[in-house]
């Protein structure tokens, strides 16, 4: 993705949701996009497959898909045209968050998975059914032959998510985008699903984009991390770089606010001061400046460029020196 801008029209006014988002996802790697709710991570995923809601559109920028040396500009394709649709499902699979509402309650589960297969490959219904059952088995759905004919509401949350994963991967796509797949599940199931996803990625050298707001998950599976705030990518790097040596003030604050088992329990949880502004507010400079401990006046004035440090660690902050370190904080640290 390069310099992609997405806006939504809500009640006859334009909300600028994604601002100059640029991302590069190497084949076979695992990227996690993290950020708070509303920062635009889901929109990024939707934009890639052109599944933005009716009132959204890509204003500018380029989304390119590379395969065997050829680049296809995804956002230039017709939204429901044949070419775009040949990507969806076959080359790019999607996993959604709310499994109960994302599955058609009136169709049997097996049919919903096979539907994707039958759309893209020339198989008979029986062949498709076999493949689906096999995939169910591989994904850990017990009694797959019977479950093929079950309805979505007959499954538990974790099982349903496996069905969704089946739908996303049945055609063996090269890219899988998972939008908060475990947020609605409880912790033990979360771990199972995450392991499953990581295995899926590793075993077939697939490219994975995981969208989440849960930093803990990121550390388990990611190769690279992109941190988003209010529609912009504010930091990007390998998982080591971002998690162990975060450079952007927002990332630092985010990481500090994650409760960990071995934290000092006598110290209060750190949170970020202030509230996330709404995307309707147009800011000239850095969106985070209001809440940033290191903000200077220039921060609010100009568009902040993405600065690259060693090892392709990209940070959108002008307060960093050449070595990528932040100055002493201007405002007093907050502990509330």
């Amino acid at each position: 993705m390069k310099d992609v801008n997405v806006s939504f029209t809500v009640e006859s006014s334009n909300l600028h949701i994604l601002r100059d988002v640029s991302l590069q996802v190497p084949r076979g790697s695992f990227l996690c996009i993290v950020g708070e709710s509303g920062c635009g991570k889901s929109v990024t995923a939707q934009a890639i497959v052109q599944l933005l809601p009716d009132n959204g559109r890509v204003d500018s920028g380029l989304i390119s898909y590379y395969e065997s040396g050829k680049a296809t500009e995804l956002n230039k394709l017709e939204k429901f045209g044949r070419e775009m649709r040949s990507f969806r499902g076959a080359k790019i699979g999607m996993i959604f968050q709310d499994t109960l509402s994302s599955l058609n309650p009136a169709h049997r589960v097996g049919r919903q998975v096979a539907e994707s297969l039958l759309q893209h490959q020339n198989l008979s219904k029986d062949e498709a059914k076999e493949r689906v059952i096999e995939l169910f088995r591989k994904l850990g759905i017990p009694d797959p032959e019977r479950r093929f004919n079950a309805y979505p509401h007959e499954f538990s949350g974790g099982m349903r998510q496996r069905v969704m994963i089946a739908i996303a991967t049945i055609c063996e796509p090269d890219l899988v985008i998972a939008d908060e797949p475990t947020t609605a599940l409880d912790v033990t199931i979360q771990a199972q699903i995450m392991t499953l996803l990581k295995n899926l990625q590793k075993s077939a050298q697939r490219t994975f984009i995981l969208i989440t707001h849960n930093m803990a998950l990121v550390s388990e599976v990611a190769d690279h991390v992109a941190v988003m705030y209010l529609g912009r990518v504010v930091e990007y790097g390998s998982v080591d770089q971002v998690l162990r040596s975060p450079r952007h003030p927002y990332t630092q604050a985010l990481l500090q606010s994650v409760p960990s088992l071995d934290a000092d329990k006598s110290v209060e949880l750190k949170t970020v001061d202030g509230q996330t502004p709404s995307p309707a507010e147009v800011t000239k400079g850095c969106e985070f400046a209001e809440r940033c401990l290191f903000a200077s006046d220039t921060c609010k004035d100009r568009v902040i460029p993405l600065m690259t440090f060693e090892g392709n660690h990209q940070v959108r902050c002008i307060r960093l020196d050449e070595k990528g370190n932040l100055p002493k904080p201007d405002k007093a640290g907050s502990n509330v």
């Binding site: 009136a106 919903q112 539907e115 994707s116 309805y151 739908i167």
Partner: protein
């Protein structure tokens, strides 16, 4: 439901007993009534000297046995009247139901899918007009224009002299069915369209699209299938019309159906007829509720019983 249905018939029954017309004549054939000596005996035998509740249950019992009583106005057995008039109403209402349901589903689907498009706007206009224009006016207008001026269709009644087969009778059906269909369409379209719009925004449609399915398949297989629910309920509850008759349309076109029967009965306070017809309508409503339950379980698998898979 059942007690309510009985309640309505009970109310009418009691009300009929309050009217000055001697209800005896409703239960016996005109022949028997012509002989005065019989009357006292009959009165006793038919339980007219019993308390009113007993009389009511007697009446119900008779209905179950198939004895619907006699019309006070014409002396005809009510069952005969019904047998005569029912087919006409069934014809009319069934045809209109089928036409308006199919059309409204299709139009609703297209309108909902192409939000803001021509079909959408047209359907909204139609719906808006539909609630403002009395349906019988459409009938009158159609009559005037099509039948009288253009002489395209017969000007009323169900049959012209000499017609025997259904195909011959068909021209008579056209205008009344058209009127009733338009009236029903106006109401139904709003529901189907809203239902489609509601469904289109649901998450599983996004999933369907993410599979790369063509739009028509998404619309038909996913959206349409799931928007049928509320519409079915609506249609099921129109079924009582099959019995109640489209009173106004029948009046405009002089259509000899149940509706006309009701009007005639009300005009002369022919209680027996009214009571029987209202009971039938109540039964039809009960039946319709059953149908709704069955339809719901077919359409929505969640309603059926099932175990959770862990």
């Amino acid at each position: 439901m059942v007690p309510m249905a009985l309640a309505i018939s009970a109310i009418i029954f009691f009300a009929s007993r309050l009217s000055p017309i001697d209800p005896l004549y409703s239960l016996i054939s005109p022949d028997a009534a012509s002989d005065p000596t019989n009357l006292a005996i009959l009165r006793e035998r038919l339980g007219f000297n019993d308390p009113i509740f007993v009389q009511y249950f007697n009446w119900l019992f008779e209905i179950f046995k198939g004895n619907f009583g006699y019309s006070i106005q014409s002396g005809q057995p009510i069952s005969e009247i019904l047998a005569l008039r029912m087919p006409a109403t069934l014809e009319l209402v069934l045809a209109a139901l089928i036409i308006s349901t199919t059309l409204s589903l299709l139009i609703g689907l297209v309108a909902g899918a192409n939000r803001g498009g021509l079909t959408d706007k047209l359907s909204r206009v139609l719906a808006a007009i539909g609630i403002s224009v009395p349906d019988f006016f459409i009938g009158l207008a159609l009559l005037n224009v099509m039948a009288y001026r253009a002489s395209l269709f017969p000007t009323g009644q169900r049959i012209s002299p000499g017609q025997v087969t259904f195909m011959e009778r068909l021209p008579h059906l056209v205008l009344p069915v058209a009127t009733l269909s338009i009236a029903m369409l106006a109401v139904l379209i709003r529901y189907t369209r809203n239902s489609v719009l509601d469904t289109i925004n649901r998450d599983f449609v996004k999933t369907a699209r993410s599979k790369g399915l063509p739009e028509w398949k998404v619309m038909w297989s996913h959206v349409f299938r799931n928007s049928l629910g509320p519409v079915m309920v609506l249609i099921a509850f129109r079924l009582p019309l099959l019995v109640g008759g489209a009173v106004l349309v029948e009046a405009v076109f002089q259509w000899p159906g149940i509706g006309k029967t009701i009007v005639e009965a009300v005009t002369v306070s022919d209680y027996p007829v009214i009571m029987v017809v209202s009971l039938l309508i109540a039964v039809a409503i009960l039946f319709a509720s059953f149908l709704v339950d069955i339809a719901k379980s077919i359409l929505d698998p969640r309603v059926r019983l099932g175990a959770t898979i862990e």
